[in-house]
C-alpha cells in the first residue's frame, strides 16, 4: 500500500470506508481476524431471552466487562 499523507486527522477517517465488493470483504476479514488475535473474546454458550433491547444491551455489557477482566488478568500474569 502506498504511503498516504493527510493535512488533518479528519481526512484520514474517510479513508477507512470502501466501496462494497471484494476489496471491502477482504478488509472485513483482515479486521475481524486481527481483532480475534489481539482480543480473544469468549461468551458463555446458550440462549438468553430478554424482554427489551435495554436488557439485551445490559447482558452484552456484562459480557464485555467479563472479557475485559479476563484480558487484564492475563496481562498481569
Amino acid at each position: 500500500m502506498p504511503v498516504r499523507k493527510f493535512h488533518d486527522i479528519s481526512e484520514m477517517e474517510g479513508n477507512t470506508w470502501r466501496e462494497p465488493g471484494p476489496e471491502l470483504h477482504a478488509a472485513i476479514r483482515r479486521v475481524w481476524e486481527f481483532a480475534a488475535k489481539t482480543v480473544e473474546l469468549r461468551f458463555p454458550p446458550g440462549v438468553y431471552r430478554h424482554r427489551s433491547i435495554e436488557e439485551l444491551d445490559a447482558q452484552t455489557e456484562r459480557w464485555a466487562q467479563a472479557n475485559f477482566d479476563v484480558f487484564q488478568a492475563r496481562k498481569q500474569r
Partner: protein, 135 residues
C-alpha cells in the same frame, strides 16, 4: 442484518462481536431461522429460540453458539420505535451470497438517538459517508 455487521457491509470494516438480525415476526420465519442456525451449529440449545418467546414477552434473544466466539442477537421488534415492517433493506452480495441488509439510511435512523456512544459514533460516520441528515 443490522448493527455492526451491516455497517461492515456498507463499507466500514470494523470489528464486532455480534451478528444482529431482525426477523419477520411470524412463526414460519422463526422456524426457518432455527433451521438456518442448525445448518451451521449442531446445538440442541437452538430449540430454545421459539416463536412463542419472540412474538410474545421476549422480543430480543441472544444466542451464543458452542464455540463461544460471538453472539447472534435476534430481534422481532425494538421498543416502540422500530418494527420489522419499518426497516428498509437492500440485498448486498457477499462473495456470491445475497445478504438482506438494512439500508445505510435506516441504520443511521436506528443508531442516531441511541444511548450507547459507539452507536452514535456509527451514526455520525454513516451521516458523513452517505451525506445523511435527519429526515
Amino acid at each position: 442484518m443490522f448493527g455492526g455487521v451491516a455497517l461492515n457491509l456498507h463499507g466500514l470494516a470494523r470489528a464486532t462481536e455480534d451478528l444482529a438480525i431482525f426477523v419477520a415476526p411470524n412463526a414460519d420465519n422463526i422456524a426457518r431461522l432455527r433451521a438456518a442456525l442448525r445448518s451451521v451449529f449442531a446445538d440442541p440449545d437452538i430449540d430454545q429460540i421459539t416463536a412463542e418467546d419472540l412474538l410474545g414477552d421476549y422480543p430480543a434473544i441472544q444466542y451464543v453458539p458452542p464455540t463461544g466466539l460471538f453472539h447472534v442477537d435476534i430481534l422481532t421488534r425494538l421498543g416502540e420505535r422500530f418494527a420489522y415492517a419499518d426497516l428498509a433493506a437492500e440485498v448486498i452480495d457477499l462473495d456470491g451470497t445475497p445478504v438482506t441488509t438494512i439500508t445505510a439510511r435506516a441504520l443511521y435512523e436506528m443508531k442516531k438517538d441511541t444511548v450507547r456512544a459507539k452507536d452514535r459514533a456509527d451514526a455520525e460516520a454513516l451521516a458523513r459517508r452517505f451525506k445523511l441528515g435527519d429526515s
